[in-house]
């Protein structure tokens, strides 16, 4: 008796128009869109260029999770630590002046929806949720262009043989380095002053139990998010540095404008090394071993550089759409990516019900986004980048130095009365600000950052 092959085989499989939507990129925005569409019964294909979702994602990381929590069984998500402390620190060449926040509420569920994650693990998990909801994922496949018919987007081209595939809707979720959207003229190439370069290292501490808990004053799965500004963080470039604690590693990195990276004659690597050796930072990363190094760009054009979000047959979401808030106090892109993917998916599902693919039928997406925190936050801070750029020397060099000097004066221990020290401290700051008038103008200009 000989066994037989009983497989049903297909000689020339073809999936053109077998899927309702193709999602380009399995990042946060892409997986949120795929999950939302699949849950609404659409057939979804996700195309990811990495060997797995997240494999190519550089992320310093605090993931903001109000929307993801709604979309998934969030308890199973691979999180590192919740953020229990935020610290904002101004660095001059060798001084540090810092403000730290540790509200009791952050220790309690849902931990203010702020968690450190490793994107390699998190993105894989999130994409898996979309697959479990019915989406199909292909990895190691790069989308190289869009297929268009009379202007309408009807599919994508990939780098594989027989690599063109058609579907009624395409969701562009390719992240900040959005070559497909740019190549298809759906958005202009971002100008240099609106792009930041970010480099990040993940550090581990071999043979040192509890070192992260001890150095950052943590218990259990509490973690920190430290932000640094000033010339001690990124030299004379416009940007900042960060340290985040993961479960057993820390992420340390810098992010600053590409324009400065070119002009200021320092490589991102050198900037990161200088930051790591700053006297206020070095003790936190002492005796560490680098396990991962990566670099990436962050769009930070704000509300003005958000392109048209809908086209006939296609939508743009997440970083590809420039939806990142980076204003010094807030660096948020993860929540916006998920929110935009979610709204875009809902708009597509509704358009599909009506059998329409035209841009007008997809307008519900930008409309929902405008009502959401995403566009509201971007607009609120739109003015900030320009203001900060104009005041760059003052904010990143003169003020950090003045605050450090003022502190030194205020607490000086000698035989002068305290009143003299206080006056000296005030003088240092007022000098830097250009007197009371300068201070008042500055306060007025920046009041909206925190109010």
């Amino acid at each position: 008796m000989t066994p037989e092959l009983d497989t049903e085989t297909r000689a020339a499989p073809n999936y053109d128009d077998q899927f309702d939507a193709i999602v380009v990129g399995a990042g946060l925005a892409g997986s949120a869109a795929a999950l939302t569409m699949a849950s609404r019964g659409l057939e979804v294909l996700i195309v990811e260029r990495g060997s797995s979702p997240g494999a190519k994602n550089v992320f310093g990381g605090v993931l903001y999770t109000p929307t993801i929590r709604e979309l998934t069984e969030f308890d199973d998500a691979p999180l590192e630590r919740y953020v229990a402390e935020r610290r904002f620190s101004m660095l001059s060449r060798d001084d540090e002046t810092a403000v730290s926040l540790r509200p009791g509420e952050w220790h309690r569920e849902p931990h203010n929806d702020s968690y450190t994650v490793l994107r390699g693990e998190f993105d894989e998990w999130f994409a898996e949720q979309a697959v479990e909801a019915g989406a199909t994922l292909v990895t190691e496949t790069t989308v190289t262009g869009l297929v268009r018919e009379r202007g309408r987007i009807v599919g994508v081209e990939t780098d594989r043989p027989d690599g063109t595939i058609r579907a009624p809707y395409v969701v562009l979720a390719e992240g900040g380095n959005s070559l497909v959207s740019e190549g298809a003229n759906l958005k202009p190439t971002e100008s240099r002053e609106n792009v930041a370069v970010a480099v990040k290292e993940v550090l581990e501490f071999p043979d040192r139990e509890g070192v992260i808990e001890d150095r950052f004053r943590l218990v259990d799965d509490a973690g920190v998010s430290y932000h640094y500004f000033g010339e001690g963080a990124v030299g004379d470039a416009f940007g900042g540095g960060f340290i985040y604690t993961n479960e057993e590693t820390v992420s340390v990195g810098v992010a600053y404008r590409i324009e400065d990276a070119v002009a200021a004659d320092q490589s991102p690597e050198e900037t990161l090394n200088a930051f790591k050796t700053h006297p206020a930072v070095a003790p936190l990363v002492r005796d560490a071993r680098t396990v991962e190094y990566s670099a990436k760009t962050i769009p930070e054009g704000g509300a003005e550089s958000v392109p048209d979000l809908v086209h006939d047959g296609g939508v743009i979401v997440g970083d590809a759409a420039g939806l990142v808030l980076n204003n010094g106090v807030h660096l948020e892109g993860t929540n916006m990516a998920v929110e935009s993917g979610y709204h875009a998916a809902r708009a597509i599902a509704r358009a599909a019900d009506r059998g329409r693919t035209d841009a007008a039928a997809l307008r519900a997406y930008p409309e929902a986004l405008e009502q959401s925190f995403v566009v509201q936050n971007l607009e609120r801070y739109a003015w900030l980048m320009d203001a900060v750029e104009a005041d760059r020397d003052l904010l990143f060099e003169e003020l950090p130095r003045a605050f450090a000097d003022a502190g030194t004066e205020y607490f000086r221990m000698d035989r002068q009365p305290k009143e003299v020290h206080a006056d000296d401290a005030k003088d240092v700051v007022l000098d830097a600000l250009g007197g009371w008038t300068g201070a008042a103008k500055l306060a007025l200009r920046y009041r909206k950052v925190v109010t």
């Binding site: 008796m1 000989t2 066994p3 037989e4 092959l5 009983d6 497989t7 049903e8 085989t9 297909r10 000689a11 020339a12 499989p13 073809n14 999936y15 294909l45 199909t136 292909v138 496949t141 990939t158 594989r160 043989p161 027989d162 690599g163 063109t164 595939i165 071999p206 043979d207």
Partner: protein
């Protein structure tokens, strides 16, 4: 006439991810994800090349646990026409003897004209399975094949074989087992639609030991391998001499044999 070309593929721990635990210095195999044995991709490419030359069908086969299906899906994505999973608890503990017997019986059942294998597996590196398949079936074998040339009109497959100091061209009668030299057949990328099909919609045929009639001939009990001890051996120094004339060959041979 077209040929049936069977390819043996195996699931192994990803060699790139098999880390050395920095603290204990031990190989950490358990945490590495399972992937297709690297040399088997080259075997697949060789099989597809033969199919391009004569026409016919490429059928991937793997002996392994149910989750080894993923390497068959990958084979179908790359271009295999069909695939069979040979899976049975009875196989547990099998060494290269019952493994090659199993694959030999499967190749017979598939009525294979050619069986293509990788040179060796990255997780055990014996290189014994392809010759084992040939031996069990009494078929010809072409090992360390760097190039293949199907000659359907002669009923033979020719291969360029890598040998010390050069190569030889050998033609073998069908059926034949080919072990492909690693690195000589750059695997082709999976076409997009086949990749979607292979990974999502394709289901392989499953055979167990009984289907192949070998339920009493597999497993740990019939595996003759036993590792006594490990020893590092130095290669034996060999004398080499180039003679210009054929006539001059006799003398040095006589000298060595004396």
């Amino acid at each position: 006439m077209t040929w049936t070309i069977a390819v043996g593929v195996k699931q192994v721990p990803d060699a790139d991810e098999v880390g050395i635990d920095p603290d204990t210095g031990r190989l950490d195999r358990a945490s590495a994800p399972a992937v297709m044995n690297g040399p088997d991709r080259h075997a697949l490419e060789a099989a597809l090349t033969i199919r391009d030359q004569v026409g016919g069908e490429v059928i991937a086969m793997t002996m392994g646990p149910p989750n080894a299906t993923s390497v068959l899906e990958e084979a179908v994505a790359m271009g295999s026409d069909d695939a069979v999973l040979i899976s049975d608890r009875a196989f547990a503990g099998s060494d290269t003897w019952p493994t090659s017997l199993t694959l030999a019986r499967a190749a017979e059942a598939l009525e294979a004209d050619v069986v293509v294998c990788g040179e060796e597996t990255t997780d055990s590196s014996t290189g014994q399975v392809p010759p084992g398949i040939a031996a069990h079936n009494g078929w010809a074998q072409l090992t360390y094949a760097e190039a293949v040339d199907a000659r359907p009109e002669e009923g033979r497959l020719a291969a360029r074989r890598d040998v010390e100091g050069g190569y030889e061209l050998v033609a073998a009668e069908l059926p034949v087992v080919v072990a492909v030299a690693f690195g000589e057949f750059d695997p082709r990328p999976a076409p997009l639609h086949r990749k979607i099909y292979g990974e999502n919609d394709f289901e392989p045929t499953v055979w167990d030991a009984e289907a192949l009639g070998i339920e009493d001939e597999v497993g740990l009990d019939v595996s003759p391998t036993s590792v006594g001890r490990m020893e590092t051996v130095d290669p034996v120094e060999r004398k080499g001499e180039v003679v210009d004339e054929v006539d001059g060959l006799l003398e040095p041979i006589a000298e060595v044999r004396a």
